[in-house]
């Protein structure tokens, strides 16, 4: 990394499932393929794997990952890198599982490393509005 500022997305979901079950969903390759993308993940530290989608003209559909941290049923972290139209993304995805009193699981996702610079940068909340406004400007010119 060259020291530029980065941004992080955070999500929290309370799921009515035990942590062991949620963990399976996050680490079992076949289950992952059904909700996230086709993959060859193996839940071991250092494992290098890929998520794959059918390619588009602008993207080969591949996300390169490496397991950075793995604490069964508690934390899973892997790098998430891809490239679209010459624009490179090198980020980190971290899943954290916390049991809830009712037997469910709090699932937290932190996706970090998004560049904070560029024409569409501007903070997680401003990002969407700014992008849509910028798209609107481009469209006025094109249509």
């Amino acid at each position: 990394m060259n020291g530029t500022a980065t941004q992080t997305l955070r999500f929290t979901w309370d799921l009515p499932f035990a942590a062991a079950k949620v963990w399976r969903g996050l680490t079992d390759s076949k289950l992952l393929a059904r909700w996230l993308m086709e993959n060859d993940m193996s839940p071991e530290p250092g494992n290098r794997f890929q998520f794959r989608r059918p390619p588009e003209p602008w993207w080969n559909g591949v996300v390169d990952c490496e397991v950075r941290e793995l604490e069964p049923r508690r934390r899973l972290r892997y790098s998430w890198s891809t490239e679209i139209r010459g624009s490179r993304l090198d980020t980190v995805v971290t899943w954290t599982l916390t049991p809830l009193a009712d037997g469910g699981t709090r699932l937290e996702l932190e996706h970090s490393g998004f560049p904070a610079e560029g024409p569409f940068a501007g903070g997680a909340k401003a990002g969407w509005e700014r992008m849509v406004a910028a798209l609107g400007d481009v469209l006025k010119e094109e249509l």
Partner: protein, 105 residues
């Protein structure tokens, strides 16, 4: 490039953008979209049809009810990363929830 054009055209309309943005925060039936939008149901339905044509929105039927959700993969080439993943992860985790629920049954 045809598909990209369809996506651009679909998002050119501010009301459609607003509907898409609402759906990127979570699935909703037509009623909820009408309530939040200040435009008529036929207009909302027409916007949804254009968004579906462009692959930006998908429909799920449960009996007589239809629910709409954003398909963030469709706008991947047009977005900054942050906005794309802002919609991507909630949509994917919805699928995870459905899958885990099926595992119970």
């Amino acid at each position: 490039m045809q598909r990209q054009d369809a996506v651009f055209r679909a998002l050119a309309d501010p009301s459609r953008r607003a509907i898409y943005e609402r759906l990127s925060r979570g699935e909703a039936p037509v009623k909820a979209l009408v309530a939040g939008s200040g435009i008529s149901q036929p207009a909302v339905s027409q916007h949804l049809a254009k968004l579906r044509e462009a692959g930006l929105v998908s429909e799920r039927r449960e009996g007589r009810h239809a629910y709409y959700r954003a398909e963030p993969d469709a706008v991947m080439p047009l977005l900054d990363w942050l906005a794309h993943y802002q919609a991507f992860w909630p949509e994917r985790v919805e699928r995870l929830k459905t899958l885990l629920k099926e595992m119970d049954e």
